[in-house]
Symmetry: C2
Subunit: 224 residues, 2 copies
């Protein structure tokens, strides 16, 4: 049983397919916050009936991506500044704990991956590939966060990243933002390489504060 290794994802259940696609669309910002999702439209778009669509919508609601009112429908969750601030505060709390648990166990391989991801961000930036930046950036951070024995914690952090993701994309669009971002990433990598966990945490705090400051500024300009 050794076929050529290939990532083979057979079309899962229809719910799951719809779920993935919709989640991607929301996280990437392709569907703007505040948009109403009509079950029938979504169903037609994916060529399935409304039943699997409804279940996917429920899951997305649970994840915080959608807001639902009975008999009123689903809307892509729109966040205000206060929400974003709370999310970043929670991230600070949870990520600090996660990093404190993980950073001591970083392998040489982990560090190499981080180095490569920094380059990937540069490349994606040069190509103006916002989605690519977002993915590489996320991967970079989760090298520091993800470690066995704290699956729940990691999952919570993932969700916080997800719900704030559509707003973060704006951040990556600005060239000055990207430059500062990368400068900070390199500093974080240096501290991680040196094994200075508390320094890493401190730099991450700064990293987040800079980001939320930008987000707040951007959001107050066009209060949707």
């Amino acid at each position: 049983m050794s076929l050529p290794k290939r990532t083979f994802v057979r079309p899962p259940t229809a719910q799951e397919a719809v779920l993935r696609e919709l989640r991607d669309a929301i996280i990437s910002g392709a569907i703007a916050p505040g948009t109403q999702l009509l079950q029938e439209e979504v169903a037609e778009q994916f060529g399935v009936s409304r039943v699997p669509v409804r279940e996917a919508l429920r899951i997305l609601e649970g994840e915080g991506h959608l807001t639902h009112t009975a008999q009123r429908g689903y809307y892509v969750t729109a966040l205000d500044i206060d929400d974003l601030v709370e999310i970043y505060r929670l991230r600070q709390l949870l990520e600090s704990a996660a990093v404190r648990h993980t950073a001591g166990r970083l392998t040489e391989a982990n560090l190499t991956v981080m180095r490569e991801l920094i380059e990937k961000i540069d490349e994606a930036g040069a190509a103006d590939d916002i989605g690519g930046i977002a993915r590489a950036n996320r991967d970079f951070h989760f090298v520091l966060i993800d470690s066995p024995g704290q699956a729940r914690l990691v999952r919570l952090i993932h969700q916080l990243w997800d719900v704030s993701s559509p707003y973060r994309s704006h951040y990556f669009a600005g060239k000055e933002n990207r430059e500062r971002l990368q400068k900070e990433h390199r500093a974080i990598l240096r501290a991680a390489t040196a094994g200075d966990t508390e320094k890493v945490i401190e730099l991450l705090d700064l990293h987040r504060r800079n980001a939320i400051a930008e987000l707040a500024a951007a959001l107050s300009e066009q209060p949707s």
Copy 2:
């Protein structure tokens, strides 16, 4: 428009009704962890079709109460010791932050409520009303946790309480446990009344450590 005030909860949508009932049953431990839930059985039990049942199940899955595998069905989530330890660790992290935000703003009314809830626990204890203890205990703690401006944080903490709830019930069954619990509650109330936030947090940490130690002991006896 002033009819006699009555808590009028008209039967909401079927999904929601099923959702509430099932969630209660799981949280209270009426449905044991590990149990498989068959869609048809649940549907029949509530007198609805499988469609609203499926949606309720999906939501419960998102909340962590159920575990789902495609084509295999839903099972009430069973936790092992490691899970419980992680949950309590997360509670410590999140509740400390929440209390730090709330404790300074406690009103006289809040303190009175806490005092009454301690008595309520005593009464429920005398009547061997485990469910009553659980509810009053939970309310007591959330007086210290719930305050405006941190809705997300509070929601996360609620979920952590919920998923570990069926296991906590065992804890309330032991008389020695209840006595220690109340002693700790009174100490917490005293510190809160004195306005000593850090002391409150410290006592809560101890409170949790005692609980998880008992839970771990109980769980290792009958590893399900």
